[in-house]
Every structure is written in structure tokens, then in C-alpha cells.
Amino acid sequence: MDFQVVVLAGGSSKNLTPLVSKELPKPLLPVANRPVLTYVLHQLEQSNLKDLIVVVEGEDAALVVGAWISGTFIDRLHVEIAAVPEDIGTAGAIREISHHLTTKDILVVSGDLVSDVPPGAVAATHRRHDAAVTATLCSIPVSGPLESGSSVGKDKAKKLGRYNIIGLDPGKQFLLHIATGAEIEKDARLPKRILRAVGQMEIRSDLMDAHMYAFKRSVLQEVLELKDAFQSLKEDVLPYLVRSQLKSEALSNRTPQGEENGNEKVTSLNNQVFVSRILANASIPSFHDRSSETPDGSAPTRKTHKCCAYIASSSSYCVRLNSIQAFMDINRDVTGEADHLLSGTDPNNNIGPSPKLGTKTTVGPHSMLGEGSEVGDKCQVKRSVIGRHCRIGSHVKVVNSVVMNHVTIGDGCIIQGSVVCSNVQLQDRVVLKDCQVGAGFVVTAGSEYKAESLARKEK
């Protein structure tokens, strides 16, 4: 497929401190003992999308990530690593690497996406409609992992703050409106202009943007060039394209020949329109074509572009790792209900090849024990992930937690709902509840913490 994939892997996300560090940038955060980036790359590989640019924020992070990818995916994917400055936004990142983009269409995927939505299907939808942009939408997970905390009776208005208001055409193929709930003050304002052209619009508030977009390269580059204030793909570029789909500014100052890989959505050449109609499987002209026609039905004078939506089936799993809560949830889900994501990534069983379990120690379901880890006597591990080469003493309870690699846990520790990063030392009888312990931290014996974030002082 003539598709280049841009994986926006990010770098050191502020939301995720103290989990991320210089040594462990966000793309390499372990989800069920594999770097989170694995999941995206694996999905891409499955869809036979092998021409990748992985964009990492910060030079150092880029080096680390690059080293890992070349170690793991060598011979499997053709990957370029690009480092971009931090805090330039997703649109900024694409702008930086714009000159690397060569193919007709570009798939942009967020590197923190843990999902089983096939990127290939998104790409195919994009191609079928000859769209300017195709956004992937998925149902809001019932468990609501995006919501911080586990509070159930959440205010509805508050809930809207998180999700998008999305307008679709009756066939659920085209994206007619998109707005993030948080931006809407009192009421949602929907453009009549597009509604008039389409006739009816379905307003959904139960879908969320999965951060996987397919763009027509020429359109994307043009928009980024024209609107240099645009920072975010999701908040600026996508709404802009959706808003202007019936009156495409992005294409208006192009030469009408459309030489550049046929970037013109509706060219003045009728046969091309015809072809696109066939591609769209439409016996009647779609509203895009209709609204570009003049009253006497002659050649279209106005340029339109199509914004499509790929709606993942409601059973698919799709979560972004963008908060500590999400990190916990994903770890839990991937070892639990969404364990099909693991299959094929690695033939590993949930318990590594050489586990050393003491007597009367139980490792419950939805748990994982990494390679070379040792667990002492009379321990309990429930719904937790334990990394590689950890040493866990006796009488230790690990519940609902994530323990990364090379962690030493002393006797009699109780760890609940916490994240323990690599190389941490928990001395005897430490009690952690809802804590995050940054890499290399040492928790002294007998201390108790609740809902705290522990990290080494930055030097």
C-alpha cells in the first residue's frame, strides 16, 4: 500500500510523571511487560503498513526509542526515527517532518494507542472515499478508563467535557462535525450549512477520537503550510478540514490540473468526478458533489473535499495511554479482558519461562510475571503485572498494581493500586496504596504511603 505511517510517539509526557524518565520515555513504558509502542507497531505490521516514521519528542528520547525499535523490529518494519523539539504539538511535529512525506496518503497514529482497530481498515476506508481526511472513531469504553478515578456517579456535563460531539451523515461514512465536549460552553452549535447540504446529521456523543487519522498528504501539507498557528491535529487541523469540507480553501489555490498525485478532490475534469463516484459506491452523486455543482448542472465550480469517519466496532478495544489511570487500566485490561492484544506480539505466557515461586504463593488470574522474576513464600499476586528480574520477598501482597523490571520488594510489603517503576527498592514491610514510585527510588523499611507520588530528586 502506498501509505506512509507517522507514529507520533511523544516523549516525556507530563501527565505520566514520575513513570517516565530520560531512560524510559513514554513510548517505552511497559504495558504487560512490553513497551507501549509495541502494540501500535504490531498492529501496523499486521495491516502490512511497513513504511514508518516514528516521531519522538527530544533527541535523547529518540535515541533510546530508536535503539529499541532497531533491536526489536529489525527486518520486520522499515522505520525511520525523527526527533522533534518538545511542545510543538502534533501538528507541529508533522510540520517538522513534512519533507519526509512522499506517498499519496499518510496515516498518522498516536504512539500511545493500545487498540485492536486495524489500521489497514482505516487506510482502506480512506482510499475508498478518496477522502482528504479519515478519522477513526471508537465507542467510549464502558468501564470508562479515560475518566480519572473510579468515581461512578459522575456529572453528565462533566463527562461531556471529555468526549467529542461528532456529526455523521446517515450512512455513517462522512464526518460532518467535530467538537470536543470541553470546548462547548452551554450548548453545541452545529453548522447549518453542512446540514443543509446533507439533509440529516446524526449527532453522537458516545464516540471518541482514537487518534488514528489518514490524511491526503497534499491536503495535510497545504493546511499546515497555510495555517501556521495550528498546533494540534485533533483540535485544529481536523476541525478545520471538517468545517471547510464543502468549501475547500486548502485546495483552492492549487492549479486545477491536479497534477500532484490527483490531490484535487473534485477536479474540473468530469471523468475524474465520475471515477470518484464509482469509488464512493454512490449511484447518486454524494452531497459533496452536489453542493459543488452550479444550478445548471455544469462542471463543479467549487472545490470540496471529503472527511470520512471509520467507526470501529463497539467490541473493539481502544484506549490511549495518556494518564496514570489509563496506564493502570490498560495494564489490567491487556492482561485481562483484552488479552487478545497480546497474542502474537510475543509467544510468552502470562508467567515467564523461569519463574521461581515460593511455597504457598499464588498468582491470580489477570496477572503477569516477567521472565527471571522470583517470588518468595506465601505471596499473593492479583490482577497485577510484575516485570522481569524482580525479586519479591515473602508474605508480599501485590494487588491491582504494576511493577516494572528489576524491582526488589522486601518481606511483608503490601502494594495496592500502585505503579512501581524499574530499579525501585522497597524495603521490608512497606505499605503502598495508590502510589507511584519513580525509577530507582528507595522506600525505607516500614514506611506507609497513600496516594502519593514518590520520585528521586532530579539532579
Binding site: K156, D187, R193, I203, D206, D236, Y240, P295
Partner: protein, 724 residues
């Protein structure tokens, strides 16, 4: 119907008893409470106007009978006597299982009043069908009724089911084929609950606002622009009592439906029922009269078509949809084209061409006449050589030889058009003079037939007028009798929208171009208006001028919106200035704003209205603004007590020129001058503003520079004053 009742009876609940006891009732409003059919309706009620030679009310009653309704209350108001007389003499008075009762009122001015009166009579005992007497339909009610009743059983608040039908408005004219304004509805696709109903395109142009809670409550909402409201409602009894409780509800849709949707205090819900293959439409204006007549002739409304409905008189349907009564005299050389109806006893002369038209009973049409797309009622005489295109010609009209009707003409009863006279397009001609009071008072909205009610015996009026018919009073050529009504200012351009004549091509092209411009504007406006603030960066660019605005925060934004809505309502419904002042004052108190804010907000709304009214050039925009300012200066002035407030207006204007209404930028000095001329702004205020701005940075002084001349002039004038 019967079958459905049987199925309902066995169920154990209190409802089945009701159902078994109460026959299905209907309320038929034999008055549309609108003026769209004037001048014809000054002399005859709308429901008795012939639609393909049969009074409209017959279509409605015939449908109600076929749909299983057993008792109909016909509410008559304007010309009630004519309606009652007609019903008494018609077949409807003697049907065994179909009781038609008339309810007469002389002082109802709206559907709301009518329903309140019916409530007082206490004649409705269960669910009823609410319909107006100008509705043509052939839908089956059973399904909709069943849905309504089942919903009602589950949820006592589901009090109304509205019938809707697919009909996409034209993207160019933004009106449906029935000539009505485009309608936006939000419907929950699963429950079919109606969530939003917006039929006035003026409000919040370019955007539909959906309340956040609606979105939160309904994960999926379908917004429809492609549905037509059939004005057939299945209501529960509560609807009547709601009208009584809310004595200010007048209009069925604008007040009642919106009232229920907006303030959901009572939690009442309205649902929709979509019909697909059957027909339902309401004659709301001349365009729908034309459209529905054509639909009837083309038999979409079967079995409610002339040859079946008329019963006794034999009407034959011939090829190509030509209907011909038995005793028609048609010359051999006459050419009766397709989709044409010729009524009983009509004579047609040589070489006359008729197509797509309805010709009533007892008409005499001469030779060499061309009739195309016309509705000619009974006993009309058309002499040789006349030409008629897309016109409505009422009973007893005489057209002298060679007269010409241009498209869209309405000739009311007994008008005489003089020889060779050309009646200009879209004229309305009547023997009655145009009511002199301009319908600008707020009554108009509902009152459409106040004057109709005021003249129950229009004969009397006629009698009054006949004596002083001096020949000179007429504008219809030699031997002509009748007045050409002048069109209200402003409505003129819109006349073609709801006329019987098809929309002229040049209008379409013009609209098309306007739409393009609109779109462009909207795309730009997107930056300013988009509530979603997608373009934060862009809006920062023009942040220099509006600092003081931002301080006041959200409250002010809401307040401004409210004031704008109030103002728009005042404009659209012709609310008196005093009332508007009161309303704005009330808003001011509830938002705890100063009158400075009011002045700013009102001015803002006025200018916004000016920008949004159609205009092609800067001068037209200027004219728009001038009109609005002239008309509403009193409102604005009521909030301009001192100089600070006046300065606020100037600042506001400057801000608008920078942001939302850049079109005004070029007109800044002119408008400023205008405001000065109208004594809205005193020179002190303008000069003070100029002083304040003097110190500002260059970007801020753009408008000051523009208006330098004017200020100079002001200053000189002041000095002169001082000299004296």
C-alpha cells in the same frame, strides 16, 4: 381503527375503558390565523377555497372520516358563518358515523385561543387529532395512533405525536417545495422523541444550538433538515389543559412546541411519526396551493382526488392527467394540455391553449387565450386573446380582451381587468382596498384574521365600498374594477418565494451567488463564532481592542446573547419599542448588568442584524444599518443616559468592525455620522472617544483615522458654537 380498539380492550388498565368509551375525536381549525391568502381570505375563509375545484375542508374531512375519526369539532372564527352554512348544506351534516360539530368564536386570534375555548367547552374526552382545515393527506392514522397510545401508557408525559414526512428543502432557496421556511429538527433516532424544533431561519444564523444536556442525555441525536412538518398532530388531553395553563401560548409550533421543548419543567415530551409512502401536506401559502394542487391532479393523494371526492358530478380522467367534467364545451381547435382540470359547464373557445391548470365551473374562456399553470375558479369570464401565466383567478373575475396576467398574480373575487391591461407580476388585486393600518403592531403575528373577524359579513363591507367606486380609484385599465394592493416594504423582494409562480431563474442564480458569499463569510466567521474555539490562535490576532469586554466574562456573553435574541424577536414579531425596553431592562436586572452593557448589547444586535440581512454592496449594508437604526433608535436611546454609555456604543462598534462584522469597517465614519445625525450619539461622546483613542497604538487607531474628517468637522462645529 376498530381492530385496534379491540386489541386494546383486553388490556387491564384504566386506559382501555377510556378507549372503549371514547370515540376518536378530532379538532379541525377552520382558520389558519395567518394572512398569507389575503386578499382572497378577506371575502371567503381559507378552508372554503377550492383546491382543484373542491373546498379544502372537504379533503380534510374526507381524510378524517377515512382515518377512523368519529367526531370532528370544526372551530371556525373568521367568516364563521360561511363555514357553518357550508358544512350544514354539505354531505358532512348527514353522515351516520361521522359527527361534525362546529364551534364558533369571534374573538379568537390564534390557535391557542381556539384550543383554550375548546377546553372550556369540555368536549374532548381522550386522544384527539389536531389538524387545520387546509390539510390534504391520505395517511393511515392507525399506526401513529397505536404508537402514541403505547408511548402514553409507558410514559404519561408523552402527550403529542407529530407527523413528519421526508422533504428536503432546496439548498438554494432554503425553503421546501411547499414554500415554507426550512425546518430543523433534532430527533432521537431510537425513541423518536423530538428534541429541537427550529423553523425560523433568522435565529442564530448559520448554527443550530443544541443544549449540552440534550447531548448528554441522548448518545445519538439525528438532526434533520430534510423533514417537513405535516401539521397533523395526535394529542392527548393534556395538550388542551397546557394551553389553558399557559395563556400566552398562541402559535402551535412557535409557542407550544418550542415552549415544551425549551422549558421542560413539566417534563412533557413530543414525539414524531414519520410517514413514508402516504401523502400529507398543509396549504400554508400560494406556493403550497400550487404544489398540492399539482399533487392532487397527479393523484398522489389518492383516494382523495377530484373524480372520487366530487361523487355526484361525473368527472372523467383522460390521458395525461386531464380531468374533464361531462358537460364541458371545448372548441375543436382548443388545445387542452396535460394535467389540467376543466370543471362543469365551462366553455372554451377556438385556438385556446390550456396546460397544467385548473379551470372551475361555469367559466367562459374566449378564443386565442393562453392559460398556463393557472388556477381559475368558478364563473370566470376570460375574453379573447388573454394570456394568463401562473395566476390564481377567483370567482366572478372578468378579464377583458387582450388582458395579460404576469406570473404570480392573484385576482380576488369579481375583479375586472381592463382591455389590454397587463397586470404586473406578483400583484394582488381585490375589490376591497388594502387594510390601511400597516400590520406593524404586535397583534399582527396572530391576528391575521382580526380584520377577518371584524368583518363577519364581508358582504356588508362590499356593500359599503360599492357606492364610492369612482372610476379613477382603479388601477386596472379601461373598464377595470379593483385595487392593486401595494406590497409592504421589505417584503417585496421575498414575494416570489411563496407565490404560485415558479421561482424565476435569475433569482436562483442570484441566490446561488449570495450563498457562495455567505459561505465564505461563514467560513471566516467560523473563527469568531465557533463556540468550540477551535482557532484560538487566530482569534488572538484581534485581541487588542476588546480587553474591557473580556473582563466581564461569561456573564456578559450570555447577556449579550439574550439581548440579541430579544431584539431579534422584537424585530420579527414587531414588538413595540416600549415592550422591548421593558424586556431588556428585565434582562439587565437578572444578569446584574449596567445600562452601559445594555446599550452595547443592543447596538451590537442591531448591527449584527444589519450585517445578516441580505445585501450586495457596502451601500446596501449602509442602508440596512440606517433602516434598523432609524426604526429602533428609541430602544437604543432608552439606554443612553449619559456620555459613558454613548462612548461604549462607539467602542462596541469599533470592536465589531474589527471582529465579527468586518464589513462595517469601511462604513465606520458613515455610520458614526448617522448615529450623530439621529442624535443617538452626542458630539461630546464622539470627541471624548477620539481623545481616548489618541493615545492608543497605531493598530488601535485605524478607525479614528477613518473618521478623522468627521471628527474634524465636529470639532469645528463645536468651536463655532463656542464662538457664538
Amino acid at each position: 381503527m376498530g381492530a385496534q380498539k379491540k386489541s386494546a380492550t383486553p388490556r387491564v388498565s384504566e386506559d382501555p375503558e377510556d378507549l372503549a368509551r371514547n370515540p376518536l375525536q378530532a379538532i379541525l381549525l377552520a382558520d389558519s390565523f395567518a394572512t398569507t391568502f389575503r386578499p382572497i381570505t378577506l371575502e371567503r375563509p381559507k378552508v372554503l377555497l377550492p383546491l382543484v375545484n373542491i373546498p379544502m375542508i372537504d379533503y380534510t374531512l374526507a381524510w378524517l372520516e377515512s382515518a377512523g375519526v368519529e367526531e370532528v369539532f370544526v372551530f371556525c372564527c373568521a367568516h364563521s358563518k360561511q363555514v357553518i352554512d357550508y358544512l350544514e348544506s354539505s354531505q358532512w351534516s348527514s353522515k351516520p358515523n361521522f359527527i361534525v360539530t362546529t364551534i364558533e368564536s369571534h374573538n379568537s386570534i390564534s390557535a391557542g385561543d381556539a384550543l383554550r375555548l375548546i377546553y372550556e367547552r369540555n368536549v374532548i374526552h381522550g386522544d384527539f387529532v389536531l389538524i387545520s382545515g387546509d390539510t390534504v393527506s391520505n395517511m393511515l392514522l392507525t399506526e401513529a395512533l397505536q404508537e402514541h397510545r403505547e408511548r402514553k401508557k409507558k410514559d404519561a408525559n408523552a402527550i403529542m405525536t407529530m407527523v413528519v414526512k421526508q422533504s428536503k428543502p432546496s439548498p438554494i432557496t432554503q425553503q421546501s417545495r411547499l414554500g415554507t421556511d426550512e425546518l430543523f429538527m433534532a430527533i432521537n433516532p431510537v425513541t423518536k422523541q423530538l428534541l429541537c424544533y427550529e423553523d425560523k431561519a433568522e435565529y442564530s444564523k448559520g448554527f443550530i444550538s443544541l443544549d449540552k444536556t440534550l447531548i448528554a442525555d441522548n448518545p445519538s441525536i439525528i438532526l434533520h433538515n430534510d423533514k417537513q412538518d405535516c401539521y397533523i398532530d395526535i394529542c392527548s388531553q393534556e395538550v388542551l389543559s397546557l394551553f389553558t395553563d399557559n395563556f400566552d401560548y398562541q402559535h402551535l409550533r412557535r409557542h407550544f412546541v418550542k415552549g415544551l421543548l425549551v422549558d421542560d419543567i413539566m417534563g412533557y415530551k413530543i414525539f414524531t411519526h414519520e410517514i413514508h409512502s402516504s401523502y400529507a401536506a398543509r396549504i400554508d401559502n400560494f406556493r403550497s396551493y400550487d404544489t398540492i394542487s399539482k399533487d392532487i391532479i397527479q393523484r398522489w393523494t389518492y383516494p382523495f382526488v377530484p373524480d372520487i371526492l366530487s361523487g355526484s358530478t361525473a368527472i372523467k380522467v383522460e390521458r395525461q392527467g386531464t380531468y374533464r367534467a361531462s358537460d364541458v364545451t371545448v372548441s375543436r381547435s382548443a388545445d387542452i394540455g396535460s394535467f389540467t382540470f376543466i370543471g362543469q359547464g365551462t366553455k372554451i373557445g377556438n385556438d385556446t391553449k390550456i396546460s397544467h391548470s385548473v379551470v372551475g365551473e361555469g367559466c367562459t374562456i374566449g378564443s386565442n387565450v393562453t392559460i398556463e399553470g393557472c388556477y381559475i375558479w368558478n364563473n370566470v369570464t376570460i375574453e379573447d386573446g388573454c394570456q394568463l401565466r401562473h395566476a390564481i383567478v377567483c370567482d366572478g373575475v372578468i378579464m377583458k380582451s387582450g388582458a395579460v396576467l404576469q406570473p404570480g398574480v392573484i385576482l380576488s373575487f369579481k375583479v375586472v381587468v381592463g382591455q389590454q391591461f397587463v397586470v404586473p407580476a406578483y400583484s394582488k388585486v381585490s375589490l376591497l382596498q388594502q387594510p390601511t393600518h400597516l400590520d406593524s403592531d404586535e397583534e399582527l403575528e396572530y391576528a391575521d384574521n382580526t380584520s377577518g373577524t371584524g368583518e363577519p359579513g364581508s358582504d356588508k363591507l362590499n356593500g359599503d365600498i360599492t357606492p364610492d367606486l369612482s372610476e379613477t380609484a382603479y388601477e386596472l385599465g379601461a373598464g377595470g374594477v379593483g385595487y392593486i394592493w401595494s406590497v409592504f416594504e421589505g417584503v417585496q423582494d421575498e414575494e416570489w418565494r411563496q407565490s404560485v409562480a415558479p421561482i424565476p431563474t435569475d433569482k436562483l442564480i442570484k441566490l446561488m451567488l449570495e450563498k457562495d458569499e455567505d459561505d465564505e463569510q461563514l467560513t471566516q466567521d467560523g473563527n469568531v463564532f465557533s463556540a468550540s474555539g477551535e482557532l484560538k490562535a487566530d482569534s488572538d490576532d484581534n485581541g487588542s481592542g476588546d480587553d474591557d469586554n473580556e473582563d466581564s466574562g461569561d456573564d456578559y456573553v450570555f447577556f449579550e446573547k439574550e439581548v440579541e435574541a430579544t431584539f431579534l424577536r422584537a424585530v420579527n414579531e414587531n414588538v413595540k419599542v416600549d415592550h422591548a425596553v421593558l424586556e431588556v431592562n428585565a434582562l439587565r436586572l437578572s444578569y446584574n448588568m449596567a445600562s452601559v452593557d445594555c446599550a452595547g448589547a443592543i447596538f451590537y444586535s442591531m448591527m449584527k442584524l444589519a450585517v445578516e440581512s441580505p445585501h450586495n454592496s457596502a451601500s446596501e449594508l449602509h442602508k440596512n444599518a440606517a433602516d434598523i437604526i432609524t426604526k429602533w433608535q428609541k430602544l437604543l436611546k432608552s439606554f443612553l443616559h449619559d456620555i459613558d454609555e454613548e462612548i461604549e456604543v462607539v467602542l462596541k462598534f469599533e470592536e465589531m468592525c474589527l471582529e465579527s462584522a468586518r464589513e462595517f469597517a469601511a462604513l465606520f465614519p458613515q455610520i458614526l455620522h448617522l448615529l450623530y445625525d439621529k442624535e443617538i450619539l452626542q458630539e461630546d461622546a464622539i470627541l471624548k472617544w477620539a481623545d481616548e483613542k489618541e493615545g492608543a497604538d497605531a493598530a488601535d487607531k485605524v478607525f479614528l483615522k477613518h473618521s478623522e474628517k468627521f471628527i474634524q468637522w465636529l470639532k469645528e462645529a463645536e468651536e463655532e458654537d463656542e464662538d457664538e
